[in-house]
């Protein structure tokens, strides 16, 4: 690849979301903004190899995108008055990008994607497409939706944003408490798809993308404690990624990982985010989840897991934010204190429908039943967990545990 192509690729990766965000916040139509940016990138691929890479590639792309939109407007291809509105804005915006880099409006884009009017299931896909430029096939793969279906849903969601005239803005502080959680949930959902990725391998997940989205948000809202909490949570998990596999691809569960193999830089960044979050004195579920990860990370320093601290942290979590995952974590924490019967009793109280095909529930159930010397139950639960596992390495690990039988 020559320099010009590399420059286009770089500008696309780095500037895609910034450009789409800047244009979309001005015309209110994300489809139009995407088309314009795509046109501009195409134009760059044609012209940069001949004329050289411009001094300010982003400004070049913005100008090109704007011109393309006006062209489309003339040809009557644009929807409604978006192009007209943009043309008016264009004059005013004209001088901005040539001075410095483009003002960052990606946070506005994130808030539109997670607007209450956007169906919950479409918030994450929208963010991935509009802010990061991922295509429907990649998003569909990570979220187990057929690419064609995902494509149609994305188009519908974007039309809705335009039709309902959703406003591109970061909500006022008074509204933030309500509007921020859906944004965070959507980002975390993207991270969840990448959790089981093999390090350095055929990654279909979106962990890196999710962290990147969180970083974008934190840069804009440096005092939003829960945004910092989510950022810290994902960094903690990410720091352990490569430690989750031994040579040969064997799965290594958290407690058996070598803390020296965790990424110290990421851990430091995570702790810093948590420190900044704590200063705001507005606790929330993501900060609590991050605190739990931080307790695990402490093993790097102390050499052991503080089971009591974990148990208490999960206690606060289920008291305030009782999700299925929180209950399962709380149940598991009883096992660390040598009280598996209480953990099992807690699992028994969870709704049968919700846990029937929930792999972590069966894995924790198996573990606790074995500790409680209810081996038949442990065998059945290990088998159920295996049957619900997508990752063959985790399946092999569960099978080995199952065969190992109770500790003597």
């Amino acid at each position: 690849m020559d320099d010009a192509h590399r420059a286009v690729e770089h500008a696309a990766r780095d500037g895609y979301g910034r450009l789409v965000a800047w244009i979309a916040t001005r015309c209110g139509d994300v489809e139009l903004a995407e088309d314009a940016v795509a046109d501009a990138l195409e134009a760059a691929l044609r012209s940069w190899p001949e004329s050289g890479v411009p001094r300010n590639p982003e400004a070049w792309l913005l100008t090109a995108a704007r011109r393309k939109m006006i062209d489309r407007g003339r040809r009557g291809q644009t929807r409604r008055d978006a192009a007209q509105r943009l043309r008016m804005e264009a004059e005013e915006a004209a001088e901005v990008p040539f001075r410095t880099s483009l003002p960052d409006r990606r946070a506005e884009l994130l808030f539109v994607c997670a607007h209450p009017s956007v169906p919950r299931a479409m918030r994450t896909p929208l963010m991935l497409q509009l802010v990061l430029g991922l295509d429907a096939a990649r998003i569909g793969s990570a979220m187990l939706v057929k690419p064609a279906t995902m494509g149609q849903r994305l188009v519908r969601a974007k039309r809705r944003i335009a039709d309902e005239n959703l406003r591109f803005e970061v909500p006022e502080p008074s509204a933030l408490a309500e509007r921020l959680p859906p944004v965070l949930d959507a980002i975390y959902a993207a991270y969840g798809t990448g959790w089981d990725d093999e390090p350095g391998g055929r990654s279909t997940g979106l962990a890196a993308e999710a962290i990147w989205l969180a970083r974008t948000l934190v840069a804009r809202l440096p005092r939003a404690a829960e945004a910092l909490g989510l950022y810290g949570l994902m960094l903690h998990c990410e720091a352990r990624r490569s430690a989750r596999r031994a040579p040969g691809g064997r799965f290594v569960p958290l407690d058996e990982q070598d803390p020296a193999a965790w990424d110290g830089t990421l851990l430091e960044e995570a702790e810093k985010a948590l420190y900044l979050a704590a200063r705001e004195r507005t606790p929330g579920p993501y900060q609590l989840e991050a605190t739990i990860q931080s307790i695990h990370a402490d093993r790097r320093r102390t050499g052991k897991v503080d089971g009591r601290a974990l148990h208490e942290a999960y206690g606060v979590l289920v008291a305030k934010y009782p999700t299925l995952g929180a209950w399962i974590g709380r149940a598991a924490s009883f096992g660390r204190l040598g009280r598996p019967a209480e953990g099992l009793a807690l699992l028994d109280r969870l709704e049968a429908d919700a846990v029937q095909r929930h792999q972590p529930y069966w894995a924790v159930r198996a573990h606790l039943a074995r500790l409680q010397r209810r081996e038949d139950e442990a065998q059945a639960a290990y088998e159920r967990a295996m049957g619900l596992t997508e990752d063959p390495a985790v399946r092999r690990w569960l099978d080995a545990r199952r065969r190992a039988g109770p500790a003597q």
């Binding site: 187990l144 088998e383 159920r384 295996m386 049957g387 619900l388």
Partner: protein, 118 residues
């Protein structure tokens, strides 16, 4: 709705079926565990014997043609099928993702066309 899952297995998968040892045991364990986990959603299914046992038949211009082996010549071959009874296609996709063959070969999902009554 009913969705059929075509299970496309690799030659290694097929080899495990007749072998002894830990890998073969793990193969059967993973299938046993999977069948149990999705059991309440399954309304039918069969395991097919290896491709070495297959015959493909065509009749062209009244002439019978028979050849050894499966119709499609690919690395993965049909090793069996399951039929799910589900509310949505997406639900079947979720069930299929933890199928052991999804991680080695592939699984293909196809909605079953309902038969006309009468």
């Amino acid at each position: 709705m009913q969705v059929m899952m075509l299970i496309l297995e690799t030659p290694e998968d097929f080899a495990h079926r007749r072998a002894e040892g830990p890998a073969a045991a793990a193969y059967w364990e993973s299938w046993k565990a999977y069948s149990a986990a999705v059991g309440d959603k399954v309304v039918g299914g069969k395991i097919l014997d290896g491709v070495g046992t297959a015959a493909t038949i065509r009749v062209r211009g009244g002439e019978r043609q028979i050849q050894d082996g499966p119709f499609a010549d690919s690395k993965e071959a049909l090793g069996g099928y399951m039929i799910f009874e589900v509310e949505t296609f997406e639900e079947a996709v979720e069930l299929a993702a933890s199928c052991p063959a999804a991680a080695t070969g592939a699984v293909e999902l196809r909605p079953i066309v309902p038969m006309m009554e009468g």
